[in-house]
């Protein structure tokens, strides 16, 4: 009961902070989505960090360490690797965004390829792949509350409450609300993770060193990445697909954060220091290893972190941990709502008047969040298959983005669209038919097909087709 009270209070506090983020009256989408491109490095840091640490960090990484041991280490380097690339990519995107007034990812494709159709394709795919990710956050939030209270109905109640609060503060404050909540979320998360790092291994195994020394004696294979379900190729391809997806800004809700920066230097500065922050992901992995020693294999892997926490901390402290975990669902959910709604309002529906765009945008926030909530409660497995496609599907935007970053485009719109669609078809086919090539992530295979087809089509259109035209045009 104490944990539930702390949890609900925390959710309300996050909602209030989101409301307080608003600074004035919003008359257009640019102010609501990217805050007039006026955020300094400090705020952009929290926006970028806030988007990367989600319920996945809290629940799934510890769960993967519990089931796959060292395989979970794939989660340590992928974001730092992405930030190395973002150090160079994000300032270019920001510069283009400022020059051409981008608010969304699809704006980039639409403008760079002079093709509203390309923009629409990217917008549709972005929403389709991001919706299951939003549902995952809401479902994860319900799971967190259910685990700490031991009550299923409180899980559903918290899902409804959190979604309502997120929708309300997103509509009221836009990205400024997300930034305001991100400060609390990240501060709370760092404190909670450090406490868990000390308390959980000490309580169950006598300390971190003992956790690994015992694992080495009992099950040494868990300390290595080896042949099997989580092979070396699985590890590398998982790192690469997630790193490329983030590095090439293929995730729609990355864009408002980057475009809201005041200058390029703020983005470079964050890319320099954000890798250090990602080290924190080692903590859920260490807790997952602790679970490996003390919990039964039948325990739900996603519940390992909270199950161990509940056994080691008093009720109120478990509530605080749950608030941090809940915040890691609410803040990214808010960013996702903004990412998806602007894609629809700017690139799909495109009302002529600014007022109409704001209305469509706000309606989409309510509809997408409501849909994710309803499906999360009634059919939590319905979007589960689509979730498998989220990163492997989104990463297919990467070649089209990279090819259009420079002053001279490397791909024409036809080959870029062809490559993108081919990549998506390959990923869908591999995923839904459960076809695996040496445990390589389907996203990487799709990406290879994407690049080969796009480059092949580009070479064809640049060399062979003009020759055909010349031959056809010659008098006979």
């Amino acid at each position: 009961m104490t944990a539930l009270a702390v949890c609900v209070s925390g959710m309300v506090l996050i909602g209030v902070l989101g409301f307080l983020g608003r600074t004035g009256r919003y008359t257009d989408l640019a102010e609501w989505t990217v805050a007039g491109r006026n955020f300094g490095a400090f705020t952009v840091w929290f926006l970028q960090a806030g988007e990367t640490f989600t319920t996945f960090t809290f629940l799934a990484v510890a769960g993967l360490a519990f089931t796959g041991g060292a395989a979970a280490t794939y989660a340590i380097p992928y974001l730092p690797l992405a930030f190395v690339a973002l150090y160079f990519v994000a300032p270019v995107v920001w510069r283009l965004g400022k020059r051409h007034g981008y608010l969304t990812q699809a704006d980039f494709f639409s403008e760079r390829y002079a093709s509203p159709l390309f923009g629409k394709i990217v917008a549709v795919l972005g929403v389709v792949f991001l919706l299951p990710y939003l549902q995952l956050q809401i479902t994860g939030l319900g799971l967190i509350v259910r685990l700490v209270t031991g009550n299923a109905s409180s899980g559903v109640f918290s899902m409804v409450l959190a979604t309502g609060l997120v929708v309300a503060f997103v509509l009221w404050s836009g990205i400024r609300g997300v930034a305001n909540t991100a400060y609390l979320k990240d501060a709370l998360m760092v404190i909670v993770l450090v406490v868990l790092l000390i308390v959980v291994p000490l309580h169950y195994a006598g300390g971190i060193e003992h956790v690994f020394a015992t694992t080495r004696t009992v099950d040494p294979a868990m300390l290595t990445v080896h042949a099997g379900k989580f092979s070396e190729l699985w590890w590398l391809s998982s790192v690469l697909v997630s790193a490329v997806a983030n590095a090439c800004m293929t995730v729609p809700h990355q864009w408002p954060g980057v475009l809201s920066a005041r200058n390029e230097r703020a983005l470079r500065l964050n890319a320099v220091f954000l890798p250090v922050y990602q080290i924190a992901i080692m903590i859920p992995i260490i807790i997952g290893f602790t679970g490996l020693l003390v919990l039964s294999k039948t325990v739900d892997s996603n519940g390992v972190l909270l199950t161990l926490t509940a056994g080691a901390l008093p009720g109120w402290a478990v509530g605080v941990v749950a608030v941090a975990a809940v915040a890691s669902a609410m803040v990214p959910s808010a960013a996702m709502c903004i990412g998806m709604s602007t894609l629809v309002a700017r690139n799909l529906v495109r009302p002529r008047r600014q007022r109409g765009a704001v209305l469509v945008n706000h309606t989409v926030v309510v509809v997408t969040a409501g849909l994710a909530l309803v499906l999360g409660i009634l059919r939590p497995d319905l979007l589960a298959n689509l979730l498998l496609l989220t990163f492997s599907g989104l990463v297919q935007f990467a070649p089209g983005l990279v090819a259009a970053l420079g002053d001279r485009r490397l791909l024409s719109k036809g080959p870029a669209i062809l490559g993108l669609l081919a990549g998506e078809v390959v990923v869908v086919w591999l995923t839904f038919n459960d076809v695996s090539f040496w445990q390589v992530n389907p996203g990487i295979i799709g990406l290879a097909c994407n690049i080969v087809l796009a480059v092949g089509a580009q070479v064809f259109t640049r060399t062979i087709r003009p020759r055909c035209r010349r031959v056809g045009a010659a008098p006979t």
Partner: protein, 80 residues
């Protein structure tokens, strides 16, 4: 912010851009290095943990070096 000293040759400035390649290669090759992907413990932690953590931490100094050696020396001013 531009420095006051003489600008180094472009080739030397561009060499700074290659610095992050070292930690990137160290990270993506981690599971293929037998002394890293093994059950031995370094400082009480699995070798793979320590290796990835150290190279992730080294990304920051290499990017600081790029910022200092390439962008600052180039004297590029960000538009505000």
């Amino acid at each position: 912010m531009p420095t006051n000293g003489p600008r180094p040759p472009r080739r030397r400035r561009r060499a700074f851009l290659l610095l992050p390649i070292v930690p990137v290669l160290a990270l993506v090759s981690a599971v293929w290095l037998p002394f890293v992907n093994s059950d031995r413990l370094w400082l009480g932690l699995p070798a793979l943990f320590v290796w990835t953590a150290v190279w992730v931490l080294l990304l920051t100094p290499t990017l600081v070096a790029v910022e200092w050696g390439f962008y600052r020396r180039r004297g590029a001013e960000d538009p505000r």
